[in-house]
Structure formats: C-alpha cells, structure tokens
C-alpha cells in the first residue's frame, strides 16, 4: 500500500510543467494570540486565546510570473482565557479562518527557493465549546461563552517555498490573522471595557502540489 502511494506521488511529480498553475497544499503549525486587556472596577485582566496548534489547507493559482492568489482555511483549537495575577479562567474553543491572500513571489517558479509575501482578507469564526459554569472565575471582567461569532479578518504574512521536485513544494510560512476582539465569545462584563484587535501569529509548515 505504501509503495503504491509513493509511486502515485512520483508520477504526479514528474508530469510536465506546462500546466502547473495551481497549487494545492496543506500543513500544520501553531499559533500564538495576542492578549487584550479588559478593565473593570479599576482592575485589569488579560483576555484572549491560548496558543494552540493550527492546521491549514489552501489552494492557490499562479496568476503571473510573481503573483499568485490562494484561498486558505485554517482551523485552530485554542482555549479562551481570562487571566489576572491571581486567577485564571479558560474555556474550550476553536476557530475557523478562511481568507484569500495575494502572494508576491520572488524568483521564478523553477527556482528551488522562492520567498514570498502574502496579504489578504477573510473572516474568522470563533466558537466557544467548553462546558458552561454558573459562576466562572473572573466573571467581573468577562464571560467565556459557549457561543460563536464571525469576525472580519486581515491576513498578513510571508514565507518561503522550497521546491522538492517539479510538482512538490515544501512551504515554511507565517501569518498574522488580525481580527476585532471576539466580544461574544469573550464577553466583557457589565461595566468592563475591552476592545482592540486580536492578532493570531501562526507558523505553518505545508506541503503542496503543483498541478
């Protein structure tokens, strides 16, 4: 079984380069969120999402010599958190991000190493999945909620493509998913102030196929 799969990959990798405008890839990585401050009653708590793995898949198209565009989906199971110096509350959650990036790629498609920048936009779906508790710690600052919300998302990043073969590319890249703070999932308490943007710094390693 393993031999037949390898044979299939090699067949794809050795096909002619003329029609290699599309790139399909998938990978995994990890993300670190930025923290936001929630202030209530003169006290401050840190709110956000815990660092977590991320898996991502994308499909891209080389539009021009150096430009490409790709649609990307990322799933990230990060727990919501509220934290002060003396207390901490968490709540299971995950997010789904889908966005379209425009990539500027240096060098040519035939080069082995090809750096690129990416910028794009999309939306991110935050969903609290934990078990609700009546009295969550630090609820004077906010509530970690079993609900979901969409937020617009800006995606900025870059990376490098390493051509393993004619059709097989290994990518190392990073992204910053920038969204408004998800105030439904992490709902500030009455009288608590919060806001700002939420950055989600992601690093991926992916493998893609040109076709």
């Amino acid at each position: 079984m393993r031999n037949s799969t390898l044979a299939a990959v090699l067949v794809v990798a050795t096909t002619p380069a003329f029609a290699q405008n599309w790139e399909l890839g998938a990978g995994a990585g990890a993300g670190i969120y930025s923290s936001n401050q929630i202030t209530a009653g003169g006290q401050t708590a840190t709110a956000g999402i815990e660092k977590a793995i991320a898996v991502s898949a994308y499909v891209g198209q080389n539009l021009y010599r150096n430009w490409a565009g790709e649609v990307r989906y990322t799933w990230q199971p990060g727990r919501l958190r509220l934290e002060t110096g003396s207390g901490r509350a968490t709540f299971d959650a995950h997010s789904h991000a889908i966005h379209y990036d425009v990539l500027y790629q240096f060098r040519t498609q035939e080069d082995t190493l090809r750096p690129f920048f990416a910028v794009g936009g999309g939306a991110k779906y935050f969903q609290g999945t934990g078990d609700e508790v009546v009295f969550q710690p630090l609820s004077q600052f906010g509530y970690l909620t079993r609900t979901a919300e969409w937020q617009p998302m800006l995606s900025i990043g870059g990376g490098v493509k390493y051509r393993l073969s004619r059709r097989l590319i290994l990518r190392a890249e990073m992204r910053d998913y920038v969204t408004p703070f998800p105030k439904k999932v992490i709902a500030p308490a009455l009288g608590a102030s919060s806001g700002g943007l939420l950055h989600d710094f992601l690093v991926f390693g992916t493998l893609s196929v040109l076709f």
Binding site: E132, V133, V134, F135, Q136, S139, Q140, G142, Y143, L144, T145, T147, K184, A187, A189, L190
Partner: protein, 988 residues
C-alpha cells in the same frame, strides 16, 4: 387520618366518663362478709382461725372463718353486744352489752364472759353502761363504763374499780333510726401490740391505761369536727396510736392528723401496721357529710410517721368501726357496712395496681412555636399484670392511645392552644382510670411551659404542692416544703440538685431557721408539733410540742425569741413562744399591751439579723416583735385585708403583699398592679418582688425598676393560706430561687441587667429586599439586636420558634427560618391582608411595632450571591443545563427558564404558611403573572409555589427565537399591577 384518630379517641373518652359517672375509678379491694345485722366490734382469734364479730342488733357473736371468709357459727348472747375482747391466752372472750335503755325501759347493761375452751358462759350485770373493754398483757380486762374504770379478772370473776369518770354521760337507748353502734356508744378502745398499753377514745375524753403500771391517765379534749371515726388503733409498743382523725403520741399530743375530715363517728376506720410503718385508713373527706352524701369509700395507705399518702385503694363499702391486723399483717379485718371486710393488705404486691411512671410530665417550648408538643408517659401495673387503662385530659391534649393495656408507653400530644393564652406554664391533669385496678391511679400533672423570649430563668421541675421556700443564710442551700408528701426538700444552691429529703409531720406550712443557724423548724397545719432538724447532720431532733389544740402554722426565730402563730382548736388563735431547750411552746398571755388573739391566717417573718419578727394577719392587722426589749412594740391595721408575700429586712423594712412598711409598720410604698405579690425578699437595702403572672421587680430606694418577666408563673396560692413565700435570695448572692408552677425557677443575680430590645429598621421581601409584600411572602426584617444568635433551619414545616426570637404579625407567630442579630427571615401567612404589624420579641425585650401594607401580589425575584464577590444574580435558571442563568451561563433563544420568586400571593389550593408546597396538585397562583424578555412576551408554562418549598414560587417559561440577545436583557414579570424586572444575558 384525623378522622380515624378522633374516632379512636371518642370511645375511650366515653368509657372514662361513663366509669367516672358510675363512681368506678378502680376495682374494689377487699371482700365483704355480710352478717345480717350491725357489727359493733370484732376480735381476732388466729389460733382458732376465726373472727368474733359482735352483732349489736342481732344479739349474737358471729364466728367468721378466716379461711373462707364466712360465718361458721353464731353465739347467741344477751342483747346489744357492743364490744368483744379476747384474753391474751385466747381462753376468754369478754362481751360487753350496751343496754343503756332509758325509762320506761329498764337498763340491760351487762357482761358476758365466754370460756372459748369449754364454751361455758357467765353473765354479769353492771350498774352502769359498759362502753368498751380490752384485755391487757396481764390477763385482766379493762372495762370502761359511763362512770368508772373497772379491772375484770376473767378467772375469778372479780372486779376492781381503778378510777371514776366525772361528767361523762353515755347515750341512752333507743336511738333514732339509722344510727350505727359507733355513734350510739361513741367510745372506742385499742390495745398495743404488746398488750402493755390500752387507749380509749370517748366524747371529750381520751384515756391511757398503763397495763403494767396499772395507771390510768384521763385527758379532756375538745374537737371540731368530732373525733371520728370512733376507732382506736395502737401501734406495737404503744408509743403512738390513731384515734378518730388524729395520730397521737403516748402523751396525747397530736403528732399529725388527717386533713379535711368529716368528723363522722360511725364511718371510717384505721389500723396501724407497725411492721411496715403504715396506717391503713378510711376516713371520708369533706365537710357536711352524712350517710346520704358520702364519697366513694377508699382505703388510704399512709405513713405511720406523718400520714403522708402512699396510695389509695377502692373499697367495696364503708368501713364502720374497728380494724385489726393479723400477726403477720397480711390481712386486715374491719367492721363494715354489711358486717366484716377482709382486706389482704399483705398481698397488695399481687393486686392489680395501675400507676404512671411519673408524677409530672413537663413539656417546654417557645411561646412562638405553633407546633405540637410531645411527651411520653408509661402506664404500668405494679403487680406486673396486663391491665386495661384509659386516659383522659383536657381539650387540646391527645394520646397515641387513650386506652390500652399495661405496660404501655403513651405519647402525649399537646396542641399549642393549650398554653397559647397563657404564656408561661399551664398545668393540666392527665387522668388515668383502670377499672380492674384496686389502686386508684394518681393523675399525672402535665406541665406545659411556653415561655416567651424575654422570660428569664431556668426552671427545675419539682412535682407536688410546694408551699414555702427559704434560703439557708450560711449554707449554699435552699429548702422547699412539699406539702402533699410532708417533706422538706433540700437543694444545693449551686447545682440546684436535690440533696436531701426530710420528713415532716402532716401538712407542713412554713419553715424557719433558728438564729444560731443550726436548726430548721417546720410548722404544720395538721400537727401540734414543729419539726426540728439539725442543719449540719439533717437529723430530725425532738420536735417542739405545742399546747393542746395549737397547730403552729407559722414560725419565726429572732435573736431572742422564737415565735409561732398557732391555729388553735378553739375560738381564738394565738402567738406562742417556743423554748428550744425544752422543745416546748407556751402561749403568751398577751402580746405586750395587746390581746393574744390573731387571725387564723397569720404568718411570721424574722429579719435575718434577728432584730425583729413581723406578724402579718389576713384581717389586716400587723404587729412587730422587737428582740431588743423582747416585746411586741407595734400593732397597726391600715388595711382591711392582707395576703400574698411577706418579708422582713435587716434594715427595718418590711413587706406584705404589695406594700413596703417602715420600721413603724407604716406603709411607705405600694407596688403597682392588681395582682398581689407572690414573693418578696430583701437583700441588703434592695427589695425584690415576684408577682403573678411571673414578674420580678427590683426596688432600689423605693423606685421600681423595669419589671422582668420570669420563665413561668409563681405557684398558685392555697385558699386555706392567705400568705405565701415564693422568693428567696441564696446566700451566695448569685441567684434567686422562685417557687413556680412546675417547681422552681433560678434567676441570676443580674437577671435585670440592661438589655437592648430589638429594633426593626426595615422590612422587605426576602427575595430582593424590596419593601413590597404580599400574603405568603418570604420577608426579611433588618435591624439591630434582632436575635442573640445566628441560626437557620431547613426543617419542614418551618417552625414558628427559632433561637430566642419570636416574630408575630398582627399578633400571630409566623414561621421563621433564619435569625441573626441584624436579619430575620420569615414567611407571612397567606391569610394576611391589609396592614401587617410586625412585633419581635427577644430576650432583650420587645421591639416597637413596624407596620407594612400588603398588596395582593408583590413579586420579587430571589437574588443568588455570587461566590467570592459582593454581587448577586437573579434566580433565573437555565433549564438546558439546570444552571443558574448568569453571564457565564447565558440563556439562549429557545431555552426554557425557571424564575424563582416570592410574593406571588395566594394560590389554589391554599397552602399553610410554613408548610411545604404540594406537588400533586400543584399550588397555582390565583393571579396569573406575565413575563417578558427584552420586550418579548414569553409563554408561561407554570406559575405557582415551588413544590416542597415554603413561600417560594416559580415561573417556568420558554424563550422564543426572536428575543434580542445581549448581556443585560430585561426579564420583566408583571402580576396584578405589580412589576419586577431583572436582567439576564441572552445569546443567540
């Protein structure tokens, strides 16, 4: 259930009432042997196994077999055999014939001497009527005639006159129909068990004959009522005897006498059982009795020492003359209405005798408690037999079984209404009826104490009739007189434990301690002696003998004289002076310049420094004896009548009833209040007053302090005694002791220390604290000093008594489930309407009234405290996860919610306040509430009391899809014009 209970109760009550109506309190004890005539006397011949009965009217001596209780033969003798006497050697039976016929008939007075060995008979004519005869140990018979005392030798037939009687006149025959022999002849004789002493009781005379010394002593007497029954019973060694209603010593002093006697000569009897120290006695009690209105006959078994009652047995008929005990004291033989009665007193242990296991059943509760009180009594048959019994009592008292068979443990259930109108202690009798029992069971005294929070003191149960109280001035003790059992009860002043019981003579009335603090003296109403006890050893010493006919009811010891106020069997009652050295008393010829003539209700009170003795008389007279001149120095009468408490101080102050008197006995202060004092005491310059229905006052410089209520009422007065002493200051000056209804109450010295009464500052519903209340609402009272302790109760139904706080609304105690110094939670009755007036009672006092106006509905959503935060959240529950709807557990569209509230008003069906709400059927609100969320009306699925809770309602509703989401969405409940709103978080 209630119906079944009442059905079970009614027949038992009917049985009891029927039995009582028939006069059947118990089974008769004793076997009657009719003789077909009127028995006048009897003699016991155990050796021959027979009893000789003088059949006065049938002119014969009936011989009754002891074995089968039947007449075996009769000896016809001369007419009117009145007395029979058996010689010590059992050879001779001497019969006297009372034939004292008046002209025109000729007297037929004579003697018959029967030789029981040969059946030979001799008759002797007498010139005067023979009244009685008795053999002494010397074999000679003492014959009492109407004019002389004769010694008759049965062997020789010789007669010797040893004395004559002047002014003694016997009745003559014939007599009016219906008279019995005892009242015809009116003379009785008795011989001591050792045959050495013969006593005789006649009209106005008593005789004592010393058989060995052959000396006759004649004592005159007067008695009112007459000295009946005309029977003499002597103990084994002749040191005491009962004659009529008196227990005499050899010198003729009344050691004790039976109380409340009728004086009937021909009804009653007694016999001394020297072996057991008992007297078996039947004397009808009551005044104005005659043969037509006699009470059911009973045999009382009393102590031969002081006539203290041990038990009472039902008799089949009246005893009417002499009673004799056999040598083993196993059977008593008595003359009775029908002839002779056999009473197996020695086998009483085998007779059915039903009794309760206690004299008192004490149930204590808070006056605020509306719950039933429960206690237990055990009904047993002392013989161990299974015997039927019935219980009955007053209204509001039920039994787990009002009829049963011994042994049985019976629950006594007391409805709160029994004591409700009378805060303090209520006493009710539980009567026991046992038709198969020869013993008449003594009723159990049910003592129900429902004290209010501000009633002070610790009560100690002491059964019986308690009539006097004094504190030992130098020992940490106090003494209580228990009159019904003739006892001095000695209690430790610190532990309040009974440490000694001292027997008194009959009907002790008052105590005194001698000035040297060594002796306790006890006066009596039914004894002509005062008991003397050594207070260090508790030994009873030689009593003080009073002049004949003097009953020392009150006694007091000054530094010089010991005085006694004596009830005198004569026209005037006297003050006597006691000489401790000779243990005697003598009557003062005068009280200084005043006549020695006092009211029968006179009490004496000595100051503890020995300076004076106050003499208080019920007719209003007061006198003062001063020990310095040893004289009566003051006599005044400033009122028509005096009664109640009395006391003397060491500072020349005196107190009687409600009046404080100065050193000249001039009233200087009058206590307010209609009720006369029950107790007065001085300590230093302070005076203390106990008055019904249970209030203590401390008087300093004649200014009354605020009255302090004590735990229970003072003992009830006795009609025969105008004065009482129910308050004592213990020598340690740490406690007061008060005689109260269930026994005594101990008050700390600082009983009236300043206390802070509760103050209600705010009242709101217990859900959200808003000042709007409805019938059935749970309420919170806020204020200060609302309770000395914090206490909560989850008991169902909710009790109206919690801790020491009692909350009433419009006068009715309401269920309370939480008390603390600053907050009390309670439930309002569902029946309440209009204005609700709240009053709170605590040990600190009574709050001012706090009035609130009730609305038909006043919903308030409960607030749940947020842990670790000074926050609350409304009691809105998310049915999806059964959790409280909070910011972290928000409700979602489509969820079901349950809102918990109070104040939704009346329900159908009605539920009693404090009771758990039913689940089947559910108690629905009479006025439907509307509930909306963010302006969107929610469908109400249920609105009513939450099953199993008291005063808690719930509204179940569903959240539609189209309600707005948000962190603070208003959830509004409207009901009958009332509205309440809370915020909940709603998410999509």
């Amino acid at each position: 259930m209630k119906a079944a209970r009442s059905m079970g109760f009614a027949p038992a009550r009917i049985v009891v009432l029927t039995l009582l109506a028939l006069g059947v309190a118990a089974a008769p004890f004793g076997r009657v042997v009719p003789i077909g005539g009127q028995a006048a006397d009897l003699a016991l011949d155990e050796a021959r196994g027979v009893l000789y009965v003088a059949n006065f009217t049938a002119n014969r001596i009936d011989v009754v077999s002891l074995a089968n209780a039947a007449i075996t033969s009769s000896m016809n003798v001369l007419p009117q055999p009145y007395s029979v006497a058996l010689s010590p050697d059992r050879r001779w039976l001497l019969v006297t014939h009372f034939g004292n016929f008046a002209a025109p008939q000729a007297p037929r007075n004579s003697l018959t001497l029967i030789d029981l060995n040969s059946a030979a008979r001799q008759t002797f004519a007498l010139s005067s009527a023979p009244l009685g005869a008795a053999f002494g140990i010397d074999g000679l018979a003492l014959i009492v005639t109407e004019s002389e005392f004769l010694l008759f030798d049965p062997v020789s037939g010789g007669v010797q006159t040893i004395g004559t009687i002047a002014q003694f006149a016997a009745n003559t025959l014939p007599r009016p129909a219906g008279e019995f022999p005892a009242s015809v002849v009116a003379v009785a004789t008795g011989v001591s068990g050792d045959g050495r002493w013969i006593y005789c009781l006649a009209e106005n005379y008593r005789f004592r004959y010393d058989v060995v010394g052959r000396q006759m002593v004649v004592l005159g007497y007067t008695a009112e009522p007459p000295m009946g029954p005309r029977v003499v019973s002597v103990n084994q060694d002749g040191t005491s005897y009962t004659g009529g209603w008196g227990l005499f010593d050899r010198q003729g002093i009344i050691l004790s006498q039976f109380p409340n006697v009728s004086g009937l000569l021909q009804v009653g009897s007694h016999a001394i059982d020297s072996t057991r120290g008992l007297i078996y006695v039947h004397i009808p009690e009551g005044t104005g009795l005659n043969s037509t209105n006699l009470p059911p006959p009973v045999l009382r078994i009393v102590s031969s020492k002081n006539l203290a009652l041990r038990e009472t047995l039902q008799l089949p008929e009246n005893l009417t003359g002499r009673s004799l005990l056999d040598a083993s004291a196993s059977t008593m033989y008595s003359i009775s209405d029908s002839g002779v009665m056999f009473l197996p007193v020695g086998a009483l242990a085998n007779e059915r005798r039903v009794s309760a296991d206690r004299e008192d059943l004490v149930l204590r509760s808070n006056s605020c408690s509306l719950s039933q009180l429960r206690g237990q009594i055990r009904v047993v048959d002392l013989s161990g037999a299974a015997t039927a019994f019935y219980l009955s009592s007053g209204n509001g008292i039920r039994f787990s079984q009002s009829a049963g068979v011994t042994p049985a443990t019976v629950d006594v259930i007391v409805d709160p209404s029994v004591a409700a109108p009378n805060p303090g202690t209520t006493v009710v009798e539980i009567s026991i009826t046992a038709p198969q029992s020869v013993r008449i069971p003594q009723a159990v005294r049910l003592v129900v104490n429902r004290r209010e929070p501000d009633q002070r003191g610790t009560t100690v149960n002491v059964p019986g009739r308690l009539v006097d109280l004094i504190a030992d001035p130098v020992r940490d003790r106090f003494y209580i007189l228990r009159q019904d059992l003739n006892q001095v009860l000695v209690f430790d002043g610190s532990t309040h434990q009974l440490i000694r019981v001292l027997d008194t003579a009959n009907t002790p009335t008052q105590m005194a301690i001698t000035f040297d603090r060594r002796h306790l003296l006890v006066g009596h109403d039914n004894a002509q002696i005062a008991m003397v006890y050594d207070l260090d050893t508790f030994d009873a010493e030689l009593p003080i003998r009073f002049p004949g006919g003097h009953y020392p009811r009150s006694i007091a010891a000054s530094g010089r004289a010991i005085l006694a106020a004596a009830r005198v069997a004569g026209p005037e009652h006297k003050i006597d002076r006691v000489e401790m050295a000779t243990r005697s008393a003598s009557v003062y010829p005068s009280l200084g310049v005043w006549e020695n003539k006092v009211d029968i209700n006179t009490v004496l009170a000595a100051s503890t420094n020995g300076a004076s003795i106050l003499i208080a008389q019920a007719d209003g007279n007061v006198m003062l004896y001063n020990s310095t001149p040893d004289a009566f120095v003051i006599s005044r009468r400033d009122s028509q009548r005096l009664s109640g408490a009395y006391a003397s101080s060491n500072f020349e102050q005196f107190a009687i009833g409600n009046t404080i008197l100065n050193s000249s006995l001039v009233p200087v202060h009058r206590f307010t209040g209609a009720q006369v004092s029950a107790g007065l005491a001085f300590s230093g310059e302070n005076s203390f007053r106990l008055s019904p229905p249970g209030t203590m006052e401390r008087l300093e410089s004649t200014l009354a302090t605020r009255p302090t209520r004590v735990a229970e009422n003072p003992v009830e007065g006795n009609e025969s005694f105008a004065f009482s002493r129910s308050l004592a200051v213990l020598a340690n000056r740490q406690n007061f002791v008060l005689l109260t209804r269930s026994g005594f109450t101990v008050l700390p010295w600082t009983y009236d220390a300043a206390t802070v009464p509760p103050r209600i500052s705010r009242i709101g519903n217990a859900a959200d604290g808003q000042p709007s209340l409805a019938p059935g609402s749970l309420v919170s009272l806020f204020g200060t000093d609302l309770s000395p302790i914090s206490l909560s109760s989850s008991e169902m139904p909710i009790s109206t008594a919690l801790g020491e706080s009692c909350l009433t609304v419009n006068g009715f105690a309401v269920p309370v489930f939480f008390v603390s110094p600053t907050r009390i939670n309670a439930q309002l009755p569902f029946s309440l309407e209009g204005t609700a007036t709240f009053v709170l009672r605590t040990p600190g006092g009574v709050s001012d009234s706090f009035a609130m106006t009730l609305r038909p509905t006043a919903p308030g959503v409960f607030q749940i405290p947020v842990p670790d935060a000074d926050l609350t959240t409304p009691a809105v529950y998310n049915a999806r996860n059964s959790g409280l709807a909070t910011g972290s557990n928000p409700v979602k569209k489509g969820d079901h919610i349950v809102v918990f509230l109070t104040g939704l008003g009346r329900t159908s069906p009605e539920v009693e306040a404090g009771a758990p709400a039913p689940s089947d059927p559910l108690a629905l609100t009479l006025i439907d509430p509307q509930i909306s969320l963010g302006g969107t009306e929610l469908p109400v699925l249920y609105a009513g009391l939450s099953p199993g809770t008291a005063g808690v309602y719930q509204i179940n509703a569903q959240i539609p899809r189209h309600v707005p989401a948000g962190l603070l969405i208003p959830l509004e409940i409207q009901q009958g014009g009332s509205r309440v709103s809370v915020n909940v978080r709603v998410i999509d």
